[in-house]
């Protein structure tokens, strides 16, 4: 072999420091002779050669720390047995031409001290400035132990505390609830949870479609819906400070205009009066961010209007899916959307987007004959607009009594985000829009996204 290398003397030995040479160039050695002492971090070990020969060159100086396998000396085998390779330049730990297969990296010097590659890498990994260290090895050599000690000493600084997770910005829902929601195409935002800390559990997830793909478990679907509504309404009354306003709106102009508009159309393309109410509400909502959006740890105004429309389900219960961008839809499209939505809601075939939290909801119980409806806001929304029955009423018009179709329009609003003034302005806007029904169709081009109040 011709070379005597730094031996491995244990499973965890990566490098050794040469402490002492017992031989010099020219010395004869026999197999088994002790030729050097190596410091292996735990203690000093005498190391032996495994062949006979003559020492021709010592390659590593006393005090040097080198990795296992580094050639330490050249030994020329006795003439009878082997041919020696030509000697390499006498640089410390030059890459070996023969012998251990690994390429041997050179040691580096820092501030005049020798740092083996291993120590150097360790220092980098542990973020220790090795140039700062006092080496405890012979000759001031910086050992691995020195680096580790320095690293431990600098660990005194406690790890920075992570900021607490933002409350209310993340949906808390059980894994099963999320899975159900995904399967049903339901968005859980806006769903009120009955679990700890308001976590949404499986029973809170709105039902969208029969059959229940989740498995063979029988589900009391109606009971689930009722329960969900109950919890939602209770929470609403608990948490949202409602205030209420009402106004009576003269629908005469609107209904007249609509009648004329519908006259020329087949039945299937006629627009219902309710659509006018929805459109007016939506347009007004776009201009009143204090009433259009949600409350989640503060007022979060919405940049669009997703108009929730309360739809009664057969068998009890209400759903209030949203029509997206209702304020910009032409009346015909809004009509079609409403019809489609109602049908699908009753058939349990709503899409995920429709469940996405409406930004404001309208409840229209006019068909049921009540004068007015004072709604309970659907959390986390900020307002609920209610329309009662359209009835003939005696109103003052131009100073004289007149019989006009009128509807009591109510606003239930969250006092955290709006005051009576804003609420009144909102209702006033709805009234004015309905008073000029042609402005509802086509969609108003001068609506601003920032909801600036005109």
């Amino acid at each position: 072999m011709g070379e005597f290398c730094m031996p491995s003397l244990g499973a965890d030995m990566d490098e050794g420091t040469l402490i002492e040479w017992f031989v010099a160039p020219g010395d004869l050695v026999r197999r088994g002779d002790i030729v050097a002492v190596v410091d292996t971090e735990k203690s000093d070990i005498e190391v032996e050669v495994f062949e006979d020969g003559t020492v021709t060159e010592l390659l590593v100086d006393v005090g040097a720390t080198v990795p296992v396998g580094t050639p330490l000396a050249r030994i020329e085998a006795t003439p009878r047995s082997r041919v020696t390779p030509s000697p390499a330049p006498a640089a410390p730990a030059a890459p070996a031409a023969s012998g251990p297969p690994r390429g041997v990296p050179t040691t580096s010097r820092t501030a005049g001290r020798v740092l083996s590659p291993l120590v150097r890498h360790l220092a980098e990994d542990l973020r220790v400035d090795a140039s700062d260290l006092r080496g405890s090895g012979p000759g001031g050599v910086v050992t691995r132990r020195d680096v580790e000690r320095a690293a431990r000493a600098s660990q005194g600084a406690p790890a920075p505390r992570r900021p607490p997770a933002g409350a209310g910005t993340r949906l808390r829902a059980s894994p099963y609830a999320r899975r159900l929601a995904g399967e049903r195409g339901v968005d859980l935002h806006g769903v009120v949870g009955s679990g700890p800390g308001g976590a949404v559990l499986a029973t809170d997830v709105p039902i969208a479609a029969p059959p229940d793909r989740a498995g063979s478990r029988t589900v009391d679907r109606d009971g689930d819906v009722r329960g969900a509504i109950a919890r939602s309404m209770a929470r609403s009354k608990r948490e949202i400070p409602h205030y209420y306003l009402q106004t009576t709106i003269d629908l005469g102009p609107a209904l007249d205009w609509l009648r004329r508009r519908n006259e020329d159309r087949p039945v299937t393309e006629r627009v219902l009066p309710a659509v006018l109410l929805l459109k007016a509400t939506a347009v007004a909502a776009a201009e009143h961010p204090a009433l259009n959006g949600r409350w989640e740890d503060g007022h979060r105004p919405a940049s669009n209007v997703h108009l929730g429309v309360a739809i009664a389900l057969r068998g009890g219960g209400i759903v209030a899916p949203g029509i997206a961008d209702a304020d910009r839809l032409p009346l015909d499209e809004l009509m079609a959307a409403l019809r489609d939505l109602s049908a699908r809601a009753r058939a349990g075939r709503l899409r995920q987007g429709e469940w996405t939290g409406p930004t404001i909801t309208v409840t229209n119980l006019g068909d049921l004959g009540v004068d007015a409806v004072w709604g309970v806001i659907n959390p986390p929304q900020l307002a609920m607009v209610g329309f009662g029955a359209v009835r003939d009423a005696v109103l003052a018009v131009d100073g004289l009594p007149a019989v006009r179709p009128a509807v009591i329009t109510s606003l239930a609003a969250d006092h955290r985000t709006s005051d009576g003034m804003q609420g009144a302005a909102f209702l006033g806007r709805i009234a004015r829009l309905l008073g000029s029904p042609e402005s509802l169709d086509p969609p108003t081009p001068d609506h601003h996204d920032d909801g600036a109040i005109p």
């Binding site: 894994p175 099963y176 679990g195 700890p196 499986a202």
Partner: protein
């Protein structure tokens, strides 16, 4: 079917084994002349003689190791360690020899050894005589850990264990020996791989083994009165765990409570909880609950011991915390 006790069922299992296979012999402290510390081996010495029913000195390490050596040498020993509390003296032989010989030898050395131990607390035997370490042993690769909880399992698991080419540790809860019940004499060797659903239910999976099975069933009955339908699973084997049965149950009920007489920290209930989280996460409607022994050395005073051990009230509370109020 016949009525018998857990103790008698286990005795019958031993007798059956000794009769069926002449390689089988029973070895342990006081198994012979005394008739067994818990009277399980009563009469066997008279029936089979001292060569087959061997009383040993109080040398757990030596006689467990001897059992290992005898198994290597072609026998089918049943080593009885009087209780799991004393097994600690033989832990080196169990962990470093029985569990490892097959692997260390590259597949050459099978150790077909059965070790039976009594386990558990509840009889005011205090700190050194009340351990439940079967969950601890279930940590070790290379051994099988079984926990017969029913009379049928006491009777029939031993047969299968003796046919296993690898070591099997059988943990018998001390409180079960006197329990009475029906024995199905027709069963024969039962499988050791499957957990058993002892009570089917829909609302929550109560998962347990061994000495706490009866208590879990009691809790399930009380829950039923409150309108909560609990499924009770008897693990039967702690290593390997029957993931399929456990996860299948949780997939149906969406809630789990594990009842484990071991101390909570690092227990088999922790392992099960981790597995459920890993593999049934999206089925869970609540965190996995655990009802374990309090983290104290078992006290002597009865009321303290009872407070430390898992009980029906603890199970009811744990189920409640999952949001199930019935």
């Amino acid at each position: 079917m016949s009525t018998t006790t857990y103790r008698e069922a286990m005795r019958e299992a031993l007798r059956d084994a000794l009769q069926r296979d002449e390689r089988v012999f029973l070895m342990g402290e006081d198994v012979g002349a005394y008739g067994g510390c818990f009277a399980v081996s009563l009469g066997l010495l008279e029936e089979f003689g001292p060569g087959r029913v061997r009383d040993t000195p109080l040398s757990e390490s030596a006689f467990v190791g001897a059992g290992i050596g005898a198994a290597l040498g072609g026998m089918r020993p049943i080593v009885e360690i009087m209780t799991v509390n004393f097994s600690l003296l033989a832990l080196d032989q169990i962990m470093n020899n029985a569990a490892t010989l097959l692997h260390m030898s590259g597949g050459q050395c099978n150790v077909p050894l059965v070790i039976r131990m009594t386990t558990g607390a509840g009889r005011q035997l205090a700190a050194q005589h009340s351990h439940s370490l079967e969950g601890w042993y279930a940590h070790i690769p290379g051994i099988r850990v079984v926990t017969p909880a029913t009379i049928d399992d006491a009777r029939w698991m031993l047969w299968t264990a003796l046919e296993d080419p690898d070591p099997v540790l059988v943990f018998e809860h001390g409180g079960l020996y006197g329990t009475e019940g029906e024995l199905d004499e027709s069963l024969g060797p039962v499988d050791l791989d499957r957990a058993a659903v002892r009570r089917a239910g829909t609302d929550v999976s109560i998962i347990t083994y061994g000495g706490t099975l009866a208590m879990a069933l009691d809790a399930a009955a009380r829950l039923a009165e409150r309108g909560v339908d609990a499924e009770v699973i008897d693990l039967r084997t702690l290593r390997p765990l029957d993931d399929e049965t456990v996860l299948g149950s949780v997939a149906r009920t969406h809630r789990a409570v594990i009842v484990d007489e071991g101390w909570r920290s690092g227990s088999i209930s922790a392992e099960l909880s981790a597995r459920i989280t890993e593999h049934a996460f999206y089925d869970l409607d609540a965190p996995v609950g655990r009802v374990c022994s309090a983290e104290v050395p078992m006290p002597y005073a009865r009321h303290l011991e009872q407070a430390a051990l898992p009980g029906v009230d603890g199970v009811l509370r744990a189920v409640e915390e999952l949001g199930l109020r019935g």
